[in-house]
């Protein structure tokens, strides 16, 4: 690995200062992407700013409105251990827990997964379907933005110099609501998603879908929030007609590449297959959630 300076600030202000001071500075949470890239020579920061000692960067807590606040550097394993979060957002949690091996789960974070900006990031489709937001801090202060606005293409974010994501926020959950995430990989574990689908549903008291959000990963330069796919589900139960509309809308939205992990044609087909399966799981979970 090329040389760099390492700092571990203990406040947001110090972290912002460190990021601004060196033009080629990079924030690091779990390090499971950054260290790999530095070792391969694909990333050569002059300074690595470790976010993990900043208050609020790690931990899961409830917001006053009943939503959740997740420190952006919180490890997936810690996220998976929060029972309330798993009850309210099983899709977000299972997506976060699919990132890498158990060992990677000991370090990898939602903030890192999002800001590494791989088109195939596992947690991002679930976060976008959940309508999650980020709290971003930087030289201009604090701001909050929808997760999907962070994406700017493969390996790129919309963050300004000196900015980093401090927290992710999930809105409060009404009853009869749940979410789910699945991905297609060649083995049973350890692979980058060939396709990932997140579905978030809110039902009314009669089991009709009142709100639906569908996000597709690894089928475009960034994760797609497919409005047509969500619209395809709204208004009735999750019947075969709805699933067919969903399948078609998901496939129509895909703009995938062919690479060593899958062909474009295959990715498009699987987006439809997974959308159906994930919608079914989210629907069954939502019905069980009084």
């Amino acid at each position: 690995m090329a040389q760099f300076d390492y700092v571990a600030p203990t406040s947001v202000e110090d972290a912002v200062k460190a990021l601004v001071a060196a033009p080629a500075a990079k924030a690091m949470a779990g390090g499971t992407d950054l260290i790999v890239q530095m070792r391969a020579g694909r990333a050569k920061p002059a300074t690595v700013v470790d976010l993990k000692r900043i208050p609020g960067a790690i931990g899961v807590r409830r917001a006053p409105d009943g939503g959740f606040i997740i420190g952006a550097a919180t490890a997936g394993a810690v996220i998976g251990e929060d029972a309330a979060l798993a009850r309210a957002w099983p899709g977000v949690v299972e997506a976060a827990n699919l990132i890498g091996s158990t060992q990677v789960q000991g370090r990898a974070s939602l903030g890192g997964n999002l800001c590494n900006a791989s088109p195939a990031a596992d947690s991002v489709p679930a976060l976008i379907a959940a309508r999650a937001t980020c709290v971003i801090v930087g030289p201009a202060g604090r701001r909050e933005a929808a997760v999907e606005t962070i994406q700017a293409g493969p390996g790129r974010t919309s963050l300004q110099p000196g900015e980093f994501v401090l927290e992710l926020r999930l809105p409060p959950r009404p009853s009869h609501a749940s979410d789910a995430y699945q991905r297609l990989i060649p083995r049973t574990e350890m692979d980058i998603a060939v396709v990932g689908v997140g579905v978030n549903l809110v039902l009314d008291a009669d089991g009709r879908i009142a709100e639906a959000h569908v996000a597709l990963g690894a089928v475009a330069p960034s994760t797609l929030l497919v409005a047509e796919a969500g619209a395809a589900l709204v208004g009735g139960p999750l019947d075969e007609a709805a699933l067919q509309r969903l399948d078609a809308a998901a496939q129509a939205a895909c703009r995938p590449i062919s690479d060593k992990r899958g062909t474009a044609e295959y990715r498009t087909q699987i987006a439809g297959v997974l959308a159906r399966r994930v919608a079914r799981i989210a629907y069954d979970r939502a019905k069980a959630n009084a």
Binding site: P186, I192, G262, I270
Partner: protein, 762 residues
Amino acid sequence: MSDVLDRPDAGAGFAVVGTRPVRPDGFDKVTGRAAFGADLVMPGMLTGRIKRSPHAHARILGIDARKALALPGVKAVVTGADFPDLASELVEGGEAASNMRDLAVNVMARDKALYEGHAVAAVAAISPAIAEAALDLIEVTYEPLPHVIDVEAAMAPDAPLLHAHLFTEGLESRPTLPSNIAKKHQFVRGDVDAALAAAEVTVEGRYTTKAVHQGYIEPHACVAAMSPDGQCQVWSSSQGHFMVRTYCAKVLALDISDIRVTPAEIGGGFGGKTTVYLEPVALALSRAAGAPVKLVMSRDEVFRATGPTSGGVIEVKLGATRDGTITAAEVTLKFQAGAFPGSPVGTACMTALACYDVPNFRIVGWDVVTNSPKVAAYRAPGAPISAFGVESAVDQLARKLGADPIELRAKNGARNGLKAPYGPTFQAIGYQETLQALKDHPNYAVPLGPNQGRGVAVGFWFNVGGESTAAVHVGEDGTATVVTGNPDIGGSRASMAIMAAEVLGVAAEDVRPVVADTASIGYSMLTGGSRTTFATGMAVVRAAEKVVDELKRRAAGIWSVPVEQVAWQGGKAICLDPAKGDTPPLTLKGLAGQSARTGGPISAEVSLNAQGAGPGFAAHLCDVEVDPETGHVKVLRYTAAQDVGRAIHPAYVEGQMQGGVAQGVGWALNEEYIFDAEGRMENAGFLDYRVPVASDLPMIDTVMVEVPNPRHPFGAKGVGEAPIVPPLAAVASAVSQAIGVRMADLPLSPPKIRAAIDAKGA
């Protein structure tokens, strides 16, 4: 979990052989104390790094190392100019003979880089960071050339030429023009063309496999030191430290006696460590720097610069009678050799039909060089690839005939007295018993559900004998050491102790196995070819027998009886002379304690060239379930039956079978070398080179069939390689059954399977 089926004439009743003692090196291995290649530290040690070609094929116009040498902390830079140019010479050192000229050029390029990753220079420095920085300062001027990797493209007359000196061997007349085709192999019996024309039923298929890597988890590593007087010490993890010594001597033009190689523990080899990449370079750096040099590969380098096995094309045509007698077989193999000749296509030809009694056949194999890393041995080299084609075709024949796939193979199967396709006559083989054991296994009767399929396949490997040396020393307190020169890659140390203990009549714990360096034990061929338990075991047994003879002589002297009146039983000398009445026996401990008085140290060393290795026959059964929408394959059950001769340590025999199966499953489903348009490997890491993980596999059921090898003291046959031969076809046939489409191109990744399902439905 596993069964051991003894044949009636097995003659069991061993005290130690066949038991499962804890392995002698076990404590060190479970506590992290065992020292592997990268774990050694020597005082004053420098870090070495290798600069590698970024081009798949290029002329090297010049190398300027001045800036690198000027970097503070850099102690040496070497290039091809620092290595002698060798003449073409075949030397037995690995599992087969290796051409020293090619080996030397593979270790360090001369005028051409022949694959991406080919070593072009090396540096030694006082820290890894400085060595890394120095690599960037070495300026290499390349003239990139067109490259070729696909085997059939490399065979085309207008293909980019790798070696101007390569003229195809094995043709009727020597060609006038060089090509990338190094050699044609051919095996013929009877009249295959007539037999095929007359056949009532024929089956034809074209099958392909991609290059796959042995995938050992430990990257290559060594520490080497050459002192100013030319004496060399090498510490490395390899499958044969005598091989390392031989190859270093050749590559650097040194005397063998000036090189002492100590074996580190080895973290997997599977054939891939039966050659050298680093050791000669580390010695050359050490010579230039005047200090020991540690040289360790990164995972990226392991993939880009060490031999995978060949990717290949297999074309098979079978002819049979309607009642299921195979009368004719034509097999054509085209194998990638990588940058230098020497793919395993020869052994692939020899094993292709070895499980069958076919009166008419023609097997042709083409060894073809390609701009990819020089292939190295991989567990039963070549056999899994030809077996994939043949076994898939036999499966297709079984379907066409409506025959049970095991019965069809039994009907046409090898048996004692049959002349094998590659020459020798089979004796004491257990192939029919192995097939029967598979058929009798409860897994064969499990009913299949929707989207599930079952595949059967068989496989063969010769196993070899060869040169081995072993010594047994009795300590003054009656405990013993057994010393061999074979690195322990799978638990063989335990088997050496067991066999010596059996002969000496003591417990396995009273015999400590040691793997000694090249100066401390006589020559041994490397650990490969499934030979160690057989050949080195034979040397161990003979040495232990000599020790027993000596112990009997000592007892005879003590008792003043002729030595014929002394028996050795249960670790004791028994006096048989009736005149001596109730003489109490003398224990090994007792005799050892008196050894100085009775003639001196009790010790024996035996060197031999073991003949009579028993071949391995394996029969496998694989059940899979395919998700028809995604093409994802789940292996539900896997059953591996094999004739193992005698399982010296049953747990480690099972382990060999299970490990070979896992590698075969990975080869069938997900593993492959992926190259981009420039001939660079795209997936040189364990993320995208997908070996099976724990959640990909079920428990692997094993059946050890024991038809003892009469040529080994305990009946052992080699077991390590046969298990990787059947899985490619077993998995492919199972998937083919599940989806109703023959899958002939490996690996069977989900997109391929989904596409095959779609095409069938179209």
